[in-house]
Symmetry: C2
Subunit: 352 residues, 2 copies
């Protein structure tokens, strides 16, 4: 039990998600892949990017905005770089394929970089950027956000998204280091969560079109997110957008549609993933021991007054992963209600 509802075992949640996608018209194998990846997002603590998105995903599939039976194919293929066309399929399916291809290339040549176009929202970057880890590879991931909430620095027109970047580095006995961040102070999913919960946002998350602080998440449409480090976060968002979007002939800037509002339209989402083989540079075991040492040096270093613990990027997600694998995924009532609605709409059994 959690403060705000019950917990659901990962396997039950996965079964429900798979049934929903099959009922929405997806092949059983694709539905299964989606269920596993979406549940992994929830296990990792990505509460804004896991099963909470199922109602929207189903709505988009039924509205014709997402292709239920895509022909995902490699468009151009060089020894270490490739472009995949997702045929407007679910982003998870496209990026799983892209990650596999990047890893394969890295095995042969030291690095693989695979871009995707005509993809869709794929959940949290951490899902894909960690795939190279078990091959003793470093992962890098870039994506164009699924709507624009960030203007250029000094601007008041949201031409950019909370384009995430992620990097994953393998460790030996310690959890891997996984940085998964948007170049904005707050991700837009967190704004939505605040609205859902009826809470105010802290000053510094958003401003309105006059540049004044905006703290009511229900008025988010009238405002814009603030980038980290002022012009630096704007620069990061743009660069990530170019790497993941423009370079793959995917949408960027004015071409990005709001995937929440325009459910019937293809988003042409772009993402890119790279895998870099550690063995190119040094023996993997030696590298992972060195990473463990860096982790411990940081964790055990001197703290500012009042700070109880220094965390490594991805460490809190890893702790959630262990906890939720053992005790299930938290299921607040509002989330369960929305999944019950999905079940009714699709005429499938509700989540047990």
């Amino acid at each position: 039990m959690t403060a705000n509802g019950t917990r659901v075992q990962a396997s039950q949640l996965a079964t429900f998600i798979a049934h929903a996608f099959v009922a929405a018209g997806l092949p059983a194998e694709d539905a299964q892949t989606l269920a596993e990846l979406m549940v992994e997002a929830d296990l990792r603590g990505s509460d804004t990017h896991g099963v909470i998105r199922l109602p929207l995903y189903v709505r988009r599939i039924r509205a014709g905005g997402v292709n239920a039976k895509p022909n995902i194919r490699v468009v151009t293929d060089r020894p270490s770089a490739a472009l995949i066309d997702g045929d407007n399929g679910m982003g998870h399916l496209v990026m799983r394929r892209a990650a596999d291809l990047a890893i394969e290339k890295a095995k042969t040549t030291g690095i693989g970089w695979v871009g995707a176009r005509m993809s869709n929202h794929a959940g949290p970057a951490a899902l894909y950027v960690t795939m190279p880890l078990k091959h003793d590879m470093v992962g890098l991931y870039f994506a164009v956000g699924s709507n624009n909430h960030l203007p250029p620095w000094g601007g008041s027109e949201s031409l950019l998204g909370t384009n995430p970047m992620a990097v994953a580095v393998p460790a030996l006995d310690e959890p891997p280091i996984v940085l998964d961040m948007a170049p904005t102070v707050a991700a837009y999913g967190k704004v939505r969560l605040k609205a859902q919960r009826g809470e105010q946002m802290p000053v510094g998350w958003m401003i309105d079109r006059e540049g004044k602080p905006l703290t009511d998440p229900k008025r988010a449409d009238e405002g814009q997110l603030l980038p980290i480090g002022d012009y630096k976060g704007y620069g990061l968002s743009l660069i990530i957008g170019l790497l993941a979007g423009a370079l793959n002939r995917a949408a960027l800037g004015r071409d990005v549609i709001d995937f929440v509002k325009e459910t019937g339209k293809a988003t042409n989402t772009g993402q890119a993933i790279a895998a870099l083989a550690v063995e190119t540079f040094m023996p993997a075991g030696e590298f992972k021991r060195a990473v463990d040492q860096v982790i411990r040096d940081i964790r055990n270093s001197r703290r500012l007054p009042g700070v109880e613990r220094i965390w490594l990027p991805g460490e809190q997600s890893h702790a959630k992963l262990l906890d939720r694998r053992a005790h299930g995924v938290p299921m607040p009532k509002s989330l369960r209600d929305s999944l019950d609605t999905v079940a009714r709409d699709l005429a499938i059994a509700p989540l047990a």
Copy 2:
């Protein structure tokens, strides 16, 4: 003439720098390469990373901290990734070589990633990350900073540096997009510049070991820089350090020495550069036209009240490059004095 001194033609400055390095014991060809790259830094407006560093570089070479005649060699070489050992030579020489190798690999396989160990401070990232541009490639660059001024988030022990990352993207008629940033609110060079000029730092650049704002740059040793986006900037610095340092068996964390204070010791600086061939994904001309369009959409988008112009990353540096190529590099009196001292120490003709 500038407000604070004269200007010097780039060619004169290059001649002076080359003479200085030859007098310090470097081969003429290496001295020439260094002179060209350091002057390019000043032309681009990197006032903290160009010729201003010459006195320190010379001091380090004469103290035996940098190898004047390195045997820079490729240690491991795979089709798309390689590791270079800089043999403790000047970082500019190491990274020029690394960039050339990354570009060569990208021509053959779509992408090249080259790491460097036993390198040294190499000036601004923009110098190297822009090298792939003329081959219609995107550049990526990561480096470990040459001293530690950033603690992990919540910490008060500076185990991390202002590790820079840079990305360069080619455009057609517009200047290329070049993001070159440290994951801290302010780079440490800017703190030094404030101290030199006798100015105070704004609140938000540094805190002391109790977590209180530190604004006197002369007390910088008692404090620590603040990362952008709180824990996000810390995560970025760590990840960049792992990619550029740990992965290349270069220094990171406790192994990083202060290259200003310990002039006689090898730094084992690590850097990494990647080149990504645009043609893998789409015709280069088409891509560059699309980038031009993104640039213009951003530049011409609606502005916040009071904002005169929206800049693209790298655009102001490009404007400085054009201005300084035509009118020379600003030479404040304090900089000229320090170069005069170098000339006296090395018994060469002073800067004209």
